[in-house]
Amino acid sequence: MNITAKGHHRFGIPPETMVYASEVRKSFGALDVLKGVSISVAAGTVACIIGPSGSGKSTFLRCINHLEEINGGLLLVDGDFVGYRLAGDKLYELPPSAICKRRAEIGMVFQQFNLFPHMTVLENIIEAPVRVRGEPVAQAKARAVEILGRVGLAAKHNVYPRHLSGGQQQRVAIARALAMNPKVILFDEPTSALDPELVGEVLEVMKDLARDGITMIVVTHEIGFAREVADQLIFMDGGVVVESGDPREIIANPQNPRTREFLARVL
């Protein structure tokens, strides 16, 4: 993992921390969605965020890559701010081009896949490496084919997304994120829009990534996946982290009554 120590020491966080959130607050108008969320995800580990809908888990995920601006707290990816530049004790808002450079290092996979419908699978994957990173097309294509093989879709590179099943589309979306060599990949309920029989193939690919040591933060309802793959389970409710720790321990023996109640409903 590419760990730069530049920002870590300033905030007194361990250098292997990939995503660090402290008292993150976010509100939409009068509605407080995040009321002080604190987590720490080490490089090479998998964190699963679970919780009832409306608990703020998707919003928190979108704050990490600055799709939403936070209203308070500290949120660092690889020891650095995504949307700001720290100088002295002031945070200066970055221009869009600089934010984009930082975002390119953070992959994101969406519930609704959000593949580009006017591009083939291969074009979807090479778009960002070529246009954002300036990779040569031939090199980007070779890598795209390799990644497609990894997600089990080697034969599909010239197909338009609409001709693929939901599970295949989501695997292409994962391949698209992987093509940018991200430091961390954020998954926003990646299997919630899928037919039940297609969930497995996507989870398989994600398990494979976890084994390869890719840092992942996964918002999910798949408790089984969390128990098997996650290094850390985070239970959110009402805009705060209610309980977090070892997934097997929490699932087997939840300490907080809200966690217990939630797990009883979904298990």
Partner: protein
């Protein structure tokens, strides 16, 4: 319900021995007959009525002045459409901006130029010199950069281009805005999370998808504009209609010359429709399209009145 109550047992019937008898539509054929009869009568009267002066129509169809007028009409349409698309796109981007200071002026622009008649705008621009004697660019500290007499600037052609471009831009702005808004938010977010900056995102992700919504109404607008340009004859721009008018003002062959004009407008509109078909197809590559040409699409079903039955 009680058809079997008599005790007669139903014999099993093999599926392949069943045939479907299509429903007949005798009244549809009667209607077709009446329409055909009417069409025949109308054609006969048009062809045989000497007042149409078909030989005169033929002699003027490729007349030099008519062809020059046609060229002028096409040039005007192309220039106005290009300017209107550029101005309209800028106005659309302003309208979807988060800043009210940008979106309100754009909305005002659309309201003003889309809401007033093209003919009135043409006459207003043509008579601009009644309001502004001269047009001057004056920069504080630098002084007068240039000054020009409005009358010599506002020729019929400039007035026509400015008036029609602004009028058309009002429509284009709404079309482009609708197209941009039709692209889902998820597309923007996916592209942004890949690190694409706003300009790249607009060019590579949003606009190509918006195009699919923008092209069909734009094609209609272009066809509409081609016909609207005939209004410029009122401020003496020598377009197709004005050229015909200037001929029949001398020869009094009014009807044949107006027929010549109609034929040319119809011809250009038909060519444009074919072009629009291929343009639309180009922007929906990912959709499985049945390979039928534009002519087949229009005329293909002409004689197949019973497609529904044969499909059943």
């Amino acid at each position: 319900m009680n058809a079997n109550a008599s005790g007669a047992r139903l014999e099993p019937v093999a599926a392949k021995t069943l045939t479907v008898v299509p429903l007949r539509h005798p009244w549809r054929w009667v209607a077709v007959g009446i329409v055909l009869l009417g069409l025949a009568g109308l054609t006969a009267s048009v062809v045989t009525n000497p007042q149409f002066q078909w030989p005169v129509v033929a002699s003027y169809l490729f007349h030099e002045r008519i062809l020059n007028g046609l060229t002028m009409t096409i040039i005007l349409t192309v220039v106005v459409m290009i300017l209107a698309t550029i101005i309209g796109t800028i106005a659309a981007l302003m309208m979807i901006s988060d800043s009210k200071l940008l979106s309100l002026p754009a909305a005002l622009f659309v309201w003003l130029f889309r809401g007033s008649p093209a003919l009135v705008q043409l006459m207003l621009w043509y008579n601009l010199s009644l309001v502004f004697r001269s047009i001057t660019l004056w920069i504080p500290g630098v002084g007068t950069v240039f000054s020009i007499d409005t009358n010599s600037l506002m020729t019929p052609m400039t007035a026509a281009i400015i008036a029609l471009s602004l009028h058309e831009a009002g429509y284009m702005a709404e079309i482009v805005r609708g197209g941009l808004k039709s692209v889902s938010n998820g597309q923007t977010e996916a592209a942004a999370s890949l690190g694409m900056k706003p300009s790249l995102l607009l060019r590579r992700i949003v606009l190509p998808q918006a195009m699919r919504m923008i092209i069909p109404p734009t094609g209609n607008e272009t066809i509409n504009l081609l016909k609207t340009t005939s209004l410029v004859s009122i401020i003496a721009v020598s377009d197709l209609l004005y050229s015909a008018q200037s001929i029949y003002a001398r020869t009094f062959e009014t009807i044949p010359l107006l027929i010549v004009v109609t034929i040319w407008y119809l011809a250009v509109v038909s060519v444009m429709s074919v072009g629009q078909y291929y343009l639309e197809r180009n922007f929906s590559r990912d959709e499985t399209h049945v390979a039928i040409g534009p002519l087949t699409r229009v005329f293909g079903n002409l004689f197949s009145l019973r497609t529904k039955e044969t499909r059943a």
